[in-house]
Amino acid sequence: MATEALIYDAIRTPRGKGKAGGALYEVKPIDLLTRLLEAMKDRHDLDTSRVEDVIIATGEPVDEQGQDIAKAALIYSSWDDVTVGAQLHRFCAGGLDAVNLAAAKVASGFEDLVCAGGVESMSRVGIGASGAAMGDPWVSMNSHFISQGLGADLLAQLDGFSREDVDRYALQSQQRAANARDNGYFTSLVPVTDMNGVTILDHDELIRGDTTLAALAALNPSFQMFNDFGHGDVLKFKYPQIENVSCIHTPGNSSGIVDGAGLVMVGNEQVGQDLGLTPRARIVSCALTGTEPTIMLAGPVPATQKALQKAGLTVDDIDLFELNEAFAAVVLRFQQQLDIPDDKINVNGGAIAMGHPIGATGAMIVGSLLDELERRNLKRGLVTLCAGGGIGIASIIERV
């Protein structure tokens, strides 16, 4: 029964600034998602009754994104009633995890065709809107919880990255993203339109390609307050060698707050033949792993190693890497530890330039990676993200 999990398509909306005044602020999260469902159907003249499940991640499954936004969007859309949907939460790893789950369903033979992705309207449903199990005082005291951003600062300090290092990386992300946008490299981007078909947003809104190192250097650290209000001492339970964390992450070298959605269609070979779909890639391997939760952001390296090991591959077998730019230090650490050259990772920028719509990002960057593999006519790519609680996730895809 086991079969290959093929990616038949991977699309995303553009990312709008995630605050009042952002282009997608007027758009409900369910509309972001439904827009992609309709686009997926239109792009392939898809018989949606063949899609068995839609798994959608979101970081704040509450209010407008509450309960099961996947099934709600399906009902609201023109899709067939037979397709079911589920909401998924794995912090920032959710979007990719949804894709991996779809792949697992297909590869196991349990299902033939599944869509997966994520949606996040950070402008309308802010960070923390759904509360947090970790936020319970007893839980947080017993878990040595600290602000994630301070974890990034700690990571940078342990690895020896300076403010200039992280700013320099941020500048590169902006320049690469601007270049990719201006040259139309994001071929799987689906503009967001209104009920009349009028375009609301057709490009990533946050990119600042003209920023400079000086401008980045002028920004204040974002997580100093957390450091000073106790988290700087809490981390010493785990890292006693740290006397004082130097706070270097700013809005300029951390991922931006944005709205957006991504959707990936995964199926077996047979269903593709039945429906006349052309596979764009196959999913070679997936990995999830947990790492030390106080620093929280060290997951991508071991997750990548695990995915490579499961696929019987090495770092050198990967043509392009897509690591979510949660914070600049996360990428620098990844490059340092796995010896990844600059020209193989995040070649079209990432969340520092374009933003990180929490639950959606993992699915969105599968599409970005695939677009670039196709453009360069390369074979293999690896997508990875760090996520809350120390989670690391990775997937390897290969064009077919």
Binding site: D136, P137, M141, K236, F237, I242, E243
Partner: protein, 718 residues
């Protein structure tokens, strides 16, 4: 009924009077449980016939002391689940009695005629209206001995004053004067006499037949907001940063503070009866917690014994000093002078010149100014009791003289002789030294039985401990007088015998030495300091030296060396003396007051370790040691030295050792002190770990015979 009397008057008001037989104060234990259970049942049976209940104490000036700690200390920490279930049910039963009382359907008033702390205040909180005599103390001080309220004190306080205030009051165990409690709404009216209070209680009952607790009324909301108020920034901020604050303040070593914070939030999320169960679960976890056990042992049992004079020689009338002499008006002498004057003692403050003595008095003036609780009139009164002089003659008539001059035998001998020349036969002469042997200093005295050591800690106006040292010839009468003076000064006295470094200095000396050993071994100084702090020490060994100053420590070392050599001994240098010499002479890093020592002190921002330490002591890179070893080296050396001191007869009382180590030299409080730390670790396990450390880090960790003997016999340090 032995414990509780119910007396009904013609108005139908029932007085519920606590008067536990055979006890000075009422306590909440098994007898209370039984009596209260009967009393509440009886009240319920007559509730339709009565107007209200007035809860008070039958003991004049004594309301209710709280939980029965002696009984708590007998609980088996390793209780099985069945036993725990039984205990949980017991806690719930105690709570239910107060809940039944407050929901009886008639007004319940409480009259507090003396301290109402812990369980006593929890009873009061269950009453609809609380009256008290002026000046009585109320509060929930359980946290100070590692516990928390367990009779719905948390549940009710949160509902009276809100989460934020409840956390502050309960986690610090703050005792409130009645006046302050009135301001917070925890008391409703204060009185001068019990009669007035009783009359007001009756009047209130008659006037308020519909009285109910706020939380039993429709639409009740917790003041200041509850955890579900997502938009309340103060509440959300408290819940987000509060836990980090608890962990930072306690280094995660104080289960009570953790439990209290969590319980306050948890009980605010649910209704009263559910909240009661939640509080009980946290309370039970603390009852069976080793840290609570350590703290109850040290801060309740041993502290009470100490305060009652367990180490004071028996058979001597309590004395009071009315005129105190102080020799040396430096920071120590001046600090003691201030404390004495503040406690109503006339002080003769003598130094070699009147100017120097005046400067000492000026120090007192400064202390008064920086103390918010001392107003101008009080300051004037305090200062008027301090008489600066350069003349020994002025010491005439002093009951006791404390010398706080330079740590030099010659100087100390001179001032001893000069003072004794004008002092009466009965006067006590006390030497405030931190290290010089009292027996030897006493050789300068013509009245050696009257010669004693009184080791104050700096700054004397703040540090709570006095270490009293008996020289070989010190009389019991003299010891008793020194003990009484310490108490008169509001200090906690411990009594030890003579020996190098007495007790506290020799014990703290070991951890300072370990800090320097590790520095010399190229251990990362950040780890040394972190280890100390996460052991629960207020400061690390390197910070401690910065405060004293490297220069002072270095000079003390030279002085000690000179002293040894003068006595015909051979001085052996050590890591501390070598490191200090380099710090002072090679690097010019002479201490915090001199601009920097092991730490840098930037004008703005936090101090940080001097980056030069790496080149100086770890040029070839840091030595990797297991972090637990670094932590253990800093505390084990102290406990082991304490056992050696006991073995050598320097200290007899485990309690004095525990209290002295915590209050005098900052030994981690959650351990219950240097000796209790061994009990808590397990005496045998402690000895085994010591052997392991001795193999790796030298003979400071070799377990002394007394420890091995206790380990062998399975005995605790008690």
């Amino acid at each position: 009924m032995e414990y509780i009397r119910l007396e009904t008057d013609s108005d139908g008001i029932v007085e519920l009077i606590f008067d536990q037989q055979g006890k000075d104060v009422n306590v909440m234990g098994l007898e209370y449980e039984q009596a209260m259970s009967q009393a509440v049942a009886e009240l319920e049976s007559m509730k339709d016939r009565i107007t209200g209940v007035y809860v008070r104490s039958g003991k004049p000036g004594q309301f209710f002391a709280g939980g029965d700690i002696t009984a708590m200390l007998e609980l088996d920490l390793d209780a099985g689940v069945e036993k725990k279930e039984e205990m949980f049910a017991g806690i719930m039963q105690t709570k239910a009695l107060l809940r039944r009382l407050e929901t009886l359907g008639v007004p319940v008033v409480c009259g507090i005629n003396g301290a109402a702390l812990g369980g006593g205040f929890e009873i009061a909180l269950a009453c609809h209206h609380r009256l008290a005599l002026k000046n009585v103390a109320v509060g929930l001080p359980e946290a100070q001995i590692g516990l928390m309220p367990g009779a719905d004190g948390v549940v009710r306080l949160v509902r009276y004053v809100g989460m934020q205030e409840a956390i502050g009051l309960i986690s610090t165990g703050k005792r409130l004067k009645a006046e302050a409690a009135l301001e917070k709404g925890l008391l409703h009216q204060l009185f001068d006499t019990e009669e007035e209070m009783h009359a007001a209680a009756r009047a209130w009952i008659v006037a308020n037949p519909q009285a109910r607790q706020p939380w039993d009324q429709d639409g009740f909301k917790i003041p200041g907001g509850s955890p579900s108020d997502k938009d309340d920034q103060a509440i959300q901020g408290l819940m987000f940063f509060g836990p980090a604050n608890v962990m930072t303040q306690t280094r995660g070593l104080m289960p009570a503070q953790k439990a209290i914070f969590a319980a306050v939030v948890d009980v605010a999320r649910v209704d009263f009866d559910t909240a009661a169960k939640i509080e009980a679960r946290y309370f039970l976890s603390l009852l069976l917690d080793q840290t609570a056990r350590n703290m109850m042992t040290a801060f309740f049992v041993q502290m009470n014994a100490l305060n009652k004079g367990a180490s004071r020689p028996d058979g001597y009338e309590k004395t009071a000093v009315s005129k105190l002499g102080l020799l040396g008006a430096g920071q120590m002498g001046a600090g003691i002078a201030f404390v004495a004057a503040k406690n109503g003692i006339e002080v003769v403050l003598k130094d070699i010149s009147l100017e120097a003595a005046e400067r000492g008095k000026a120090y007192s003036a400064q202390v008064c100014e920086s103390n918010k609780r001392i107003d101008e009139d009080q300051a004037e009164e305090i200062l008027s009791r301090i008489h600066p002089t350069a003349d020994y003659e002025d010491l005439r008539g002093c009951d006791l003289v404390i010398e706080a001059v330079f740590e030099n035998r010659g100087v100390k001998a001179t001032v001893t002789r000069e003072s004794e020349a004008v002092l009466g036969e009965e006067a006590v002469f006390a030497s405030n030294t931190s290290a010089l042997p009292i027996t030897e200093l006493a050789e300068a005295s013509v009245r050696r039985p009257n010669f004693v050591g009184m080791h104050f800690f700096s700054p004397a106006e703040k540090m709570p401990l006095v270490e009293i040292i008996a020289g070989e010839q010190t009389s019991d009468a003299t010891l008793a007088k020194a003990f009484d003076l310490a108490q008169q000064l509001g200090k906690t006295p411990i009594v030890v015998n003579d020996g190098p470094g007495f007790f506290t200095s020799r014990v703290i000396g070991k951890t300072i030495a370990q800090g320097h050993n590790m520095l010399e071994e190229s251990v990362d100084p950040v780890l040394i300091e972190s280890a100390a702090k996460f052991n629960g020490s207020p400061v690390g060994p390197l910070s401690a030296i910065d405060e004293i100053s490297q220069e002072t420590a270095y000079k003390n070392g030279l002085q000690a060396r000179a002293d040894v050599e003068e006595q015909g001994g051979v001085w052996e240098d050590n890591a501390a003396s070598r490191v200090l010499e380099r710090m002072v002479n090679d690097f010019g890093r002479k201490g915090k007051v001199h601009g920097g020592g092991y730490y840098e002190y930037p004008e703005t921002g936090k101090k940080f370790l001097w980056p030069g330490l790496r080149d100086a002591f770890a040029a070839a890179g840091y030595t990797e040691l297991p972090y637990q070893d670094i932590k253990d080296r800093l505390t084990f050396c102290q406990s082991l030295e304490a056992v050696r001191a006991m073995q050598e007869g320097v200290i007899d009382s485990v309690g004095d050792g525990n209290i002295g180590s915590i209050m005098g030299i900052g030994f981690p409080a959650q351990t219950g002190g240097v000796f209790q730390a061994i009990n808590a670790y397990g005496v045998k396990a402690f000895a085994e770990r010591a052997v392991e450390l001795a193999e790796r880090y030298g003979e400071d960790f070799t377990p002394p015979a007394l420890l091995l003997e206790k380990a062998e016999k399975g005995e605790l340090f008690t």
